[in-house]
Structures are given as C-alpha cells and as structure tokens.
C-alpha cells in the first residue's frame, strides 16, 4: 500500500453519525467543510454510502434510505493515522517497558515491530527528537536519553518560566478577549468534575491540557505555545502509566486550578503568580514522584 486511507475511513465514520440525524445530506463542499476533508474524499464517502444502500445519490439529491447499523462503521483501529500508531507504540516501549537510558534505537527494527515502512518511523523519530528524549548519531542509530529525573527537571524548569510569563500576560488581557469566555467554560467543567469526582476523575487529564494550553496561548509567542506540546505529551503518557492515587491527585489539582483561575480573573499579577507557582510546584512534585 502506498498510503493508508485512514482519512477516508475516519471521515466516513464521522459522516455516518451525521447521517443518523437527517434525512438528506448537504452539498459536497459543505460536507467537506464539516468533516475537514477535501471534496475528493467526500465523494468517495458518498459513493460508498450509495453502494451500501445507505443513501440514494443523484447530483444534489442525497436522500437517506436507512439508519446506519453498528457494522456499517469501520473499526476504530483502522481510523488512526500511521503517525498516531507509531507514537503510541514508541511511547509504550520507552515509558512503560524497561527502556534504559543510553539504549540504541534501530529504525529498521522499530519499523518491523510496528509493521510499517522505515520512512514513517524515521519521520516520526525526527519529529519526536525535538522532545529531547532521543538523539541522533548521524549515519548511525538513535540514542534513547530516557525519561529520567534530569529530563523532568529540565522540562519543568522551562515550563515554569513559560507559564509564569504567560500567566502574567493573561491577567493583562482585555476584558473582551475570547480567552476569558473559554476560561469560564473550563472553570465550569472543573466544578462539574469535582462534584462527581469519584466517577469522573479520569477526565482531568484532558481538561488539564486544555487549561494550561489556554494559559500558554496568552503569551502570543509561538515558541512558548509550541513548547507546550512537549509538556502535554509527557503528562499525557505519564497519566496513562502512573495511576497510583490518581483520584486524590486529580482532585487536588482541580482545586489548585480553581484557585489559579480565580487569581487570573482578579487581574492582579502578584496573585496570579502566586497561584501559578503553587500549582506548578505540586505538578512538578507529582511528576518527580513517578520517576524512580
């Protein structure tokens, strides 16, 4: 295969959901907009719908014939892009598995294990290298620098610089800036989850990312915002991997976030800095605790 048709399959599945709600579908360009794909892909989806007798399709008329059944959907494993598959595979190996710092990483071997071509693995490693966890020896292998204590300390040092700066910018944002609205939404979600913490504490991870990204964006600095990718990926996999006391940790972090949000709202730089520092301090401790 030259290219996985995951874009098609994923858009197809999402389009099936749309189809469940209406009796006829909109125009091709509009569908493309909604699904975030090109007309070529939209037409491929419509073609398949027609084949499976889900719709009749004659130019502008696209009438729904029947409701989609569960087996009309493509299995979710097939809708992940290759890059996602490689990333997960790789992260599992280096975070969960006993991967020692200094270990060599072999493109060919990785590709064989994941069942993919070397090019994709190679491109992944190049992209991934900016996270500071691996390093290339030209004309030779990659070296795993490892998810070590030093890594975590260096990461949090920069994170703290960036987030303090961003928080300072945030409090100075004009009142009509859309960030305030988003902050309100995020705050509401915090309260919802806290109110039902025993059942919903797992939702924290995603919310955490949303919140901090919003703060970082206030910096209006692409380097600061981009750096948040590193933090996000580290915490993302870290949460998946280290689940001890998750409920309690998340509850605490939610409370800290609420205090932090309130401080941002106060427009008082000193208060914001204090709340930010307090939360970052405990985030750092949590991260460090999980590293042997």
């Amino acid at each position: 295969m030259a290219k996985q048709n995951t874009v098609f399959k994923d858009a197809y599945n999402r389009c099936l959901k749309l189809l469940a709600d209406t009796s006829s579908l909109p125009s091709e360009p509009e569908l493309g907009q909604v699904l975030g794909v090109s007309r070529t892909t939209v037409r491929a989806i419509l073609g398949r719908f027609e084949e499976l007798q889900l719709i009749t399709w004659d130019k502008r008329k696209k009438s729904v014939l029947r409701q989609p059944r569960p087996d009309d959907y493509f299995p979710t494993e097939e809708t992940d892009s290759l890059a996602e598959i490689i990333e997960r595979s790789f992260m599992r190996r280096i975070l969960a598995g006993g991967a020692e710092p200094g270990m060599q990483i072999n493109e060919l071997e990785l590709a064989r294990e994941i069942g993919t071509g070397t090019t994709s693995v190679r491109e992944f490693l190049i992209r991934f290298s900016r996270f500071g966890l691996i390093e290339k020896r030209p004309n030779s292998h990659w070296i795993l620098k490892g998810f070590t204590r030093e890594f975590a300390l260096e990461l949090t040092e920069v994170r703290e610089m960036f987030e303090l700066r961003s928080a300072a910018r945030f409090v100075a944002l004009p009142d009509d800036h859309p960030a305030w609205d988003e902050l309100t939404k995020i705050e509401a979600l915090h309260r919802e989850i806290l109110a039902d913490i025993d059942k919903r504490y797992r939702e924290f991870s995603e919310l955490d990312e949303q919140f901090h990204l919003l703060v970082h964006k206030a910096s209006s600095n692409r380097f600061i915002v981009d750096f948040y990718d590193i933090i996000a990926i580290v915490f993302h996999y870290h949460y998946q991997w280290n689940k001890t006391n998750a409920r309690q940790r998340n509850a605490r972090a939610l409370e800290e976030h609420l205090a932090y949000i309130e401080a941002l709202r106060s427009h008082d730089p000193a208060r914001a800095e204090q709340a930010c520092r307090r939360h970052l301090q405990s985030a750092r401790e949590t991260l460090l605790q999980s590293i042997p």
Copy 2:
C-alpha cells in the same frame, strides 16, 4: 543513486591533509577515530590512495609515496551533505528571495529545484519546522510563516529569558569548571579581532555563536541549549544577508561582549544581568532594524 558518498569524500579530503605531514599512516581504527568515520570508510580511502599511487598499502604498512596535489582533492561542493545543501537552498529562498508570509511550500517543486528526492526535502522540512518559520497542513502543503517582525520579537523574547537564566547560572559556576577556561579563550579572541577590526570584523559572526552557546550551556538544560540552534541559524543567515554597517555593528557587539564577559567573571549576579540585558537589547535592535 541511493546515498551520496559525501562522508567518504569529506573524510578523504581531510585524510589527504594528514598525509601531507607524515611518511606513513597509522592503523585503520586510529584513522577512523581521527576522521570520525568507520573502518569501512577508512579502508575505502586507503584503497583509493593506493589506486592513485599516493601510498603503498600492505596490511599494517602504509607508506606515503608522494605528496598530494591540489587535484587529488575532491571539489568542496561534493563534500557537503545533502542536508546542508537543502538547508542553504531553502534559506536563500525564504530569506533573500521575496518570499511572502502565507506562501505555500511544495515538497515536489522544492525537490525538483534542488535536484534531489522528495524524501530528503520532506525530512528537512520536518526538522526545520521546529524553528517556527513554517507550518504543516496535514495531507497538504506547508505554509511559510515568514521571517517577520513578530517572529523576531517572539524569538528574542524567549532568547532573553533563556540567556538571563543561563548567565545567572554561569556566575555561580565553580572556579574549576572548564567553562571559565573557554571563556578566557573566547575573550582573547575578542581582543585579537578588535585590535584588527577593519580586516577581521567578519570573524565576529562565528565568535558570537561560540560565546552565546557557551553561556547557554551553563544552564545545563537541554531545552535551553537546543533553543540556541534557532537563534544561531537565524543570526547566521541574517549576517550573511544584511551587511550594512557590519564593521561598526560588530565592533560595538564585541565591546559589549567584553563587558559581559567581565561581568560574568565578577561572579556578581546583578552585574551579569545588567551586562547581559544591555547586550541583548542591542542585539534585538540590530535584528529588528533589518526587517522591513
């Protein structure tokens, strides 16, 4: 061609220089060490030397037969790695040429113009994307964000944060840390160049990079040190491109560096911060002046 043999050609040229000074060459592993290549490449070089009757080669005996002539060397254009060629080509297009922000970048077209395969161009763009000058639309083209005023401001903002922090670490370095020795060497070079500024002001660019990298390394933080790559590449191409008042600008920067170095030597954090700020301020102004 599957792979350019630039490693061979470059090592071959360097080995020719070694050959000019001795009557016999050391063992294969030792040569490999000196040249930074594997034994396979060393043996290829020795084989070529023998063919060209530069040496006789019988197992451990490698006797020099004649001095190398200028035409024994490979032309320097052939010793640059593909990545270097692509980088130069690309930077020329986006810095010198009238490349508008928002312009689309086409992998295939770039590859054709440079005369290389798409894979290499693609990998270059992925690596280059961390510099924040281009951005990928998945399944579609890259977008040039451009070397704009905002870019320069965002870059210098982070640079200033990082360098101030690094300078603060530098003054606290123990007296026996090797960085002090290197600082002494760099200072001496500054004085040499200043003493003959009219002829040697062009050497500043390289020295500037060396000096600031040394300071950044004091942070012991991979993210801070890695970020310096971005600054280095921007200033590198910027110096090549904007040569107005170069002599005067460089003289001023050299003086500022000397004050900065002295302040670092004083071990006084406040003095170091002041000197650092002063220099960064004028570096920022210089950079901004060159952007329309």
